[in-house]
Symmetry: D2
Subunit: 208 residues, 4 copies
């Protein structure tokens, strides 16, 4: 059995020279992948020059193709987003738009290329909005052809109102958040392993 | 100047013989209405036999017409909802559906009957989901013809995960929640008072 | 291999003595299940006296337990909803709330009882709102423990504005809608069959 | 009475050297503003180098301050967005994030700077998603301090599935879409005029 690969796109508004609360939560996520011998890579999307548009390559220095190539290689995709105004980040929506640009591309069986990949979401915010953010991400990914395991999200948010975010609030001490990390990471791996040996048959889902 | 009336529809899943966390937050809201001499009434919607459907009266013992009559008399409407699965309650969606049943009814100027009424939302939950719930309510009300003042919502939710709700968590001690109550209640009254003397003209918004 | 069972909960606001546009679309869905020897049952939820609340049985003539029993027997669950005000129906939200009441119940391995079941959504409306409705349903189901196959929804809506619904508009003639029916029904069956022989292992997802 | 100004931020993914369907709908919107002597300006946001982040000026060539200055001068703000994957564009979310960066700035009375401005939304897509997109925009704007008139949105989308967009589909022939343009534009002007003479009093909404 080939090794599974996980790709995490951190859709923070901040480049990787700044601390990301979402990254902090992702570290615990990745630990579980490590323990299960899943190779993983975390990318801060805003480190790349990703163009606006709906195409696999928008030209003019567009660096999305580099990220897309990693998505194609991955068995597990996680979109991670901070919460702003109770919603997912603009960066994460741009990622969905760019993935959409490849939704008519097919694999060797004629299925959309994201078939037999599994997806989940990770969200952190200082308050309210994790499920709204995660729900939009999960549904976008399902529409694009990813499969979604049970309990596919891990998140932390604080009490209503301004306040410290994950790192400062020591969100990692939340038993609940740890349990969402544990469940989501395991279920992503479980489903990816199942698909590795038993992929979704090319019947009823093949473009003509 | 006639006295203004506010109607609050508490869309809790629990009848009024059970304690509602949303009601607890509403009490502070109403206090501000009282201080400004706004007559207010809070109704627990599930105390009434409200039918499913899109019509002002579904017959067969449907008690929605009693509530609708109060909405028609009100200058200010507040939809209050608990959070379940990160979203507004099914009861609050039913209220929007029933209000929709009167959306083609017009006032004496030919505008939809909810014109020149103002609306807001109040949400409580033990965790995450207040803005998602409030946003759906606010937008539904705006589509139906209500006007929305700035900062039209008051809410409290706790940290991610299962935990105590508003009353037990002493959410009323949250300065942030108190500030949302203060601002939303004042702005609802301000806009209702402005409309009382300066209603939206019947131009461009009149059915033919 | 045991035969698979599919349960469709039609969350129309209308009882089954009235024509449901959503039912019309569901007929084509079921045809594909029939062709694949999947036993299926369509239930109009409002035919039952389903109480408000978050518990598996609210007592007092609550008929949810009858529906819940069917959900427990099913391998595939489809929530079907009309669109009102651009959103899923209040009935469909009530179904999510009631399913939530069983989310801490576990199977013999200690996983939530909806594990190893797959879920999808079907939506019809005269205009705009299908994806918003479907997205909320899909994400609610994923949170509760259902697995979601790729392209898990089938839908039809007409052009913006009031207009005929599915039956009158002959939505069944839409090639696009037929392709969503084809893909969603096949993928639900594919994933259910995979789980039948290769269920999600009880590791990382077991309550203690 | 000073002349009113309207600013429209077209959040298309395409720069202004490409045809935007949303722009086509906006033209009819602007005609009504013209007829009421409202000065208006339409900006294609992606023509500007708008940085990611939550601050009024992110530095490093960030051109958001130019747009923000226009927002500050405007009495009416319209966010216009195409639909992608059933949701508003990533560009429109970025605009909300950047506006959020000024939400603690206050006017001379101590109210948030967006008070006494009114806001609406315009959406076009080839299919399904207009209300979901518009609802998120409207609620975001209300949270930031804009007031929302009744029926604050104008939109067009076609029947479910791929198909022509506004221009090619001759969406301008839709009586419904024209009526949403008529109503939204008039109500935005009505409310802006009311606020010009009767602004929201600085009571209960002033930062200390």
């Amino acid at each position: 059995m080939e090794n599974l690969k996980a790709l995490v796109l951190n859709c923070s508004l901040k480049k990787s020279d700044e601390l990301s609360n979402t990254d902090a939560l992702l570290k615990d996520f990745i630990k579980i992948f490590d323990s299960k011998h899943i190779k993983s890579e975390v990318i801060r999307v805003v480190d790349y020059n990703v163009a606006y548009g709906i195409a696999d390559d928008m030209g003019d220095g567009d660096e999305w193709p580099k990220i897309l190539e990693k998505v194609k290689q991955a068995d597990i995709l996680i979109l991670a987003s901070p919460v702003w105004l109770g919603e997912k980040s603009s960066v994460s929506k741009k990622v969905l738009e760019r993935l959409n640009g490849s939704s008519s591309e097919t694999n060797e069986k004629g299925q959309p290329i994201f078939y037999n990949k599994v997806a989940g979401a990770v969200v952190t915010g200082n308050e309210d909005g994790a499920k709204h953010a995660a729900g939009d991400l999960i549904f976008g990914l399902a529409q694009l052809g990813f499969a979604i395991p049970p309990n596919p999200i891990a998140y932390w948010v604080g009490e209503a109102g301004p306040g410290p975010s994950y790192i400062e609030a020591e969100g990692y001490k939340s038993e609940f958040t740890q349990s969402t990390i544990e469940t989501a990471s395991h279920n992503l791996v479980h489903l990816a392993k199942i698909f590795q040996e038993h992929p979704i048959p090319a019947e009823g889902n093949v473009s003509e």
